[in-house]
């Protein structure tokens, strides 16, 4: 489901943390084929877009072989951090999932 496997905390010597293990606990109703977040085509990602590869709390963003940033948003927790951070550069097209789709918090 996710496009990231192991992600470090970014701190020197810190343990690797698997973000998917956390997301497996969550319930989602994925709107198949209709991702609510899209990245605009680019050759060089901006600093903000690059930051999302570590900042997205669901690990949805990663860099591909060509250096572009890609997103797989099935595990998105709909916080909006990526929208806020890229609001200036406009690289992320962000909408809420259609009514009823997306993450379903049992506890919140």
């Amino acid at each position: 489901m996710m496009n990231t496997t192991e992600v470090g905390t970014g701190a020197p010597g810190a343990p690797l943390v698997k973000v998917e293990e956390r997301l497996f606990q969550n319930r989602y109703l994925v709107d198949a084929g209709r991702p609510h977040i899209k990245i605009k085509p680019h050759t060089e990602p901006s600093k903000a877009l690059m930051a999302l590869t570590h900042l997205c709390p669901a690990g949805c963003y990663s860099q591909n072989d060509k250096g572009q940033v890609e997103a797989v948003v099935d595990g998105c927790v709909e916080c909006g951090t990526c929208r806020v951070l890229t609001a200036k550069t406009g690289e992320v097209e962000w909408n809420y999932p259609r009514g009823g789709f997306g993450v379903l918090f049992k506890f919140g």
Binding site: H54, R83, G108
Partner: protein, 434 residues
């Protein structure tokens, strides 16, 4: 297309939207409430603490059937370094009162309960319905909303926006500016389950007593932010949040930060053997009074997180949300009784009424604090280290005489922050606080 015209449409079924919808429906207004989640609460995230006073003013007997977890009898404030904390704890049996003051809650359950009350009061709730835009008349007055339910529209005299911090409707309609990465925090949270007797013995609790811990220090790795640990009946909510722009610059992952917090030697024993059943993330508006957008206009009012109603210093938000929702609802009822339109001039009454409450008084009092905390990151890094080191020097008995220890502590503060630095921080804090 929903044919009926409503007195009010409420966008969102969180604390602010529910408070507004309940207040209006209870007074006989025709209210339509729209929620994008499968059920109210399914998209909502909070620590979470419920402040009784704000809810009592809406539903006085809420304690009879609301899903409350534990009433808070103890508050712990921790200043942490990597191996220790200096704590200020306040515990009182006075909080074991007939009508307790604060409770821990689980939002998905609480919001569902609150929404049940809203529907009992007579409001119409449509879930799985995302509002996509505001509808306006030729004069620019807001007259309704468009939703993603077959492009359906609904009309009302006034639209109350309780759409949360990441509220796209108001923001895309130009009612308020875009959130800024340096005035909004990203918080991540996990729900850890343990048998209730384990929680009670670990936290020194009896029955439904609860403890809440707020923590700052090296856990945020130099970023402006805090962590929290709240006791529920059979679970512990643990989370950490930092300003988004700090996260962006630091290279840290939010879940990595949470993991390190969980592994702190003072935290790990509290969670030992627990089972994590959910991981959530949410933004928190931290800009306070200075980041507050316009609160009303022709045909619309904004309430709750969408209006930046969060007191970052006291970690209060849901009570401000409920209070703004209630006051917005009361304002609309008042106008309706007077047969007056929801024009911008008339809705100014909303802000006038809010000014009389703790909401605006507190936010105005602390208007300089968000900026102060963000510009003085050493508050979150340098001071906790100095404080915890000082405590260790003071409490360790090692043959060094007490005067020498005092000197060592004073020296550590002078070299860690310099004398002008220390005085400057004290003055800046005092100025920001008053």
């Amino acid at each position: 297309m929903i044919r009926d015209k409503f007195d009010a449409i409420v966008v969102g079924a969180g604390p602010s939207g529910n408070a507004a919808a309940y207040t209006m429906a209870k007074q006989g207004l025709k209210v339509l409430q729209l929620e994008r989640g499968e059920y109210p609460g399914s998209k909502n995230v909070q620590g979470a603490i419920l402040y009784a006073d704000a809810l009592e003013k809406i539903i006085p007997d809420f304690r009879e059937d609301a899903p409350l977890e534990r009433h808070v009898i103890e508050q712990r404030l921790w200043t942490m370094d990597d191996t220790s904390y200096v704590g200020m704890h306040y515990r009182s049996d006075d909080f074991n009162e007939e009508k307790p003051n604060r409770y821990t809650i689980i939002r998905a359950q609480f919001d569902r309960w609150f929404s049940g009350k809203v529907r009992e009061a007579g409001a119409v709730l449509l879930c799985e319905t995302t509002v996509t835009e505001l509808l306006r008349d030729p004069q620019g007055r807001v007259i309704g909303v468009r939703t993603d339910r077959d492009g359906g529209t609904a009309f009302a005299d006034v639209v109350i926006l309780g759409e949360g911090v990441n509220g796209l409707v108001g923001q895309r309609s130009g009612l308020r500016p875009e959130l800024k990465p340096d005035t909004v925090a990203l918080a991540v949270k996990e729900m850890h389950f343990l048998p209730r007797e384990v929680i009670e013995s670990r936290f020194n609790l009896a029955g439904n007593e609860g403890v809440v811990i707020e923590a700052m220090g090296t856990i945020t790795d130099g970023m402006t932010g805090t962590g929290f640990i709240y006791t529920n009946q059979e679970s512990i909510s643990i989370g950490i949040g930092c300003i988004v722009s700090d996260f962006a610059e630091s290279g840290r992952t939010p879940y990595g930060l949470l993991e390190a917090f969980k592994r702190h030697p003072s935290v790990r024993p509290l969670l030992e053997g627990s089972e994590c059943k959910e991981y959530a993330a949410h933004l928190i508006p931290e800009g306070g009074y200075n980041a507050m957008p316009e609160l009303f206009g022709d045909g619309w009012i904004v309430v709750g997180d969408a209006g930046q109603f969060v007191n970052a210093v006291h970690r209060e938000g849901s009570n401000l949300a409920m209070t703004t929702g209630r006051v917005a609802g009361e304002t609309v009822v008042w106008l309706k009784r007077r047969r007056e339109m929801a024009t911008k001039a008339n809705l100014a009454e909303y802000q006038r009424r809010l000014e009389e409450t703790f909401v605006m008084k507190d936010l105005r009092k602390y208007r300089r604090i968000p900026d102060f905390l963000h510009r003085n990151k050493h508050i979150f890094g340098v001071y906790p280290k100095l404080l915890t080191a000082a405590a260790q020097t003071w409490f360790r008995v090692d043959g060094v005489d007490k005067r020498a220890k005092e000197k060592q502590i004073f020296q550590s503060f002078r070299s860690g922050r310099t004398l002008p630095g220390l005085i400057g921080d004290a003055l800046k804090l005092a100025r920001s606080w008053r």
